[in-house]
């Protein structure tokens, strides 16, 4: 399990790192992927998106990369080594939560807790 360096990432920050884990993306692609990954729960406007991008760049978690595109105004971003480490550490945490959830579901069923029965 990766070593955790600080508290959990804010949801938008995590969503951006997670969306960039598949491939480098530009702003609108990021928005679409984030919306898809969150089942439509996280919808960002340009201001919130680029505010988070700015912060992530300052923390050196993502970086702008040269990318050939028809439209030169689109800038592509990718994870840095530090960004990968941070995301990996975050995913380890969630993996553990999912494992614990499975165990507790079983425990709940054992004691007849209806909340887990669905």
């Amino acid at each position: 399990m990766g070593k955790r360096t600080s508290n959990l990432l804010p949801q938008v920050t995590f969503s951006i790192l997670f969306a960039l884990s598949l491939k480098p993306r530009h702003g609108y692609e990021l928005m679409q992927q984030i919306e898809h990954d969150s089942n439509g729960r996280v919808k960002l406007g340009p201001g919130a998106l680029y505010g988070s991008i700015k912060q992530l760049r300052e923390e050196n978690l993502i970086e702008e990369m040269p990318f050939e595109d028809d439209n030169e105004r689109r800038r592509y971003y990718r994870l840095t080594k530090k960004g990968w480490d941070r995301l990996s550490s975050e995913l380890d945490y969630f993996e553990n939560i999912v494992r614990l959830t499975g165990e507790r579901k079983g425990l709940g069923k054992q004691f007849g807790a209806s909340v887990w029965m669905a």
Binding site: H26, G27, Y28, M31, K43, L44, G45, P46, G47, A48, L49, Y50, G51, I53, K54, E58, N71, R73, R74, R75
Partner: protein, 208 residues
């Protein structure tokens, strides 16, 4: 980018609410992303605009605050921030006296008893705060003027100069206000307490 500015003239004007450094880096990308969103046939234009318009003030204020907090240090010179901070500290004794008077029913001795302290703390420090911040402001204006920015433009560039102007203004107001009260001989005790009674203060001024 001009094409996108023409396509979204109002939105691109609103982007001026962001700090200049932020705009330089992200304005073009924000306009392009908005264009991509609106060009996507599967999306409702009304909901995109609603989201974008609601998102703008919140993120602009956040960027302005974080920018003033020092993230984009290259935009506001450190001497301006330092002057504003020092000036604010120099005004603290004045506010402390006002608060203490309010809490303790004017328990601080009359101005005659603590004249020296009163002069030093309640007039001297605000004067220094005023001078310090005006000097910082002037230095900033002169530097920008050398780089080609007009005096008038710098004067009204409140995004950058509001901290020093507010502190200088407060310092000047306090420095003028407190001695003025003492000079009209209207006060029986601490001059600062009259701040809480504007009606009586007005009567004092009218009586001369």
């Amino acid at each position: 980018m001009d094409g996108l500015k023409h396509r979204f003239p109002r939105y691109s004007r609103l982007l001026w609410l962001y700090p200049a450094g932020y705009r330089m880096q992200y304005e073009e990308q924000m306009l392009q992303t908005l264009a991509d969103m609106l060009d996507d046939p599967g999306r409702s234009k009304a909901s995109i605009w609603a989201r974008t318009v609601l998102d703008l003030p919140v993120s602009a204020i956040y960027q302005q605050l974080s920018y003033e907090g020092g993230i984009m240090k290259n935009e506001t010179p450190s001497y301006m921030k330092r002057s504003a901070l020092l000036g604010s500290i120099m005004l603290l004794p004045f506010w402390a006296v006002v608060i203490i008077n309010s809490l303790n029913n004017h328990s601080i001795p009359s101005s005659h008893d603590w004249e020296l302290t009163y002069k030093l703390l309640l007039v001297g420090l605000p004067v220094i705060a005023f001078l310090l911040n005006i000097a910082a402001f002037w230095r900033w204006v002169a530097t920008r003027h050398k780089l080609g920015t007009s005096y008038l433009k710098s004067l009204f560039d409140f995004r950058h100069n509001w901290t020093v102007l507010v502190v200088a203004g407060l310092g000047l107001l306090i420095a003028l206000f407190v001695p003025f009260h003492d000079s009209v001989h209207c006060l029986t005790g601490n001059p600062v307490r009259e701040l809480h009674n504007p009606h009586q203060t007005l009567q004092c001024i009218l009586r001369g």
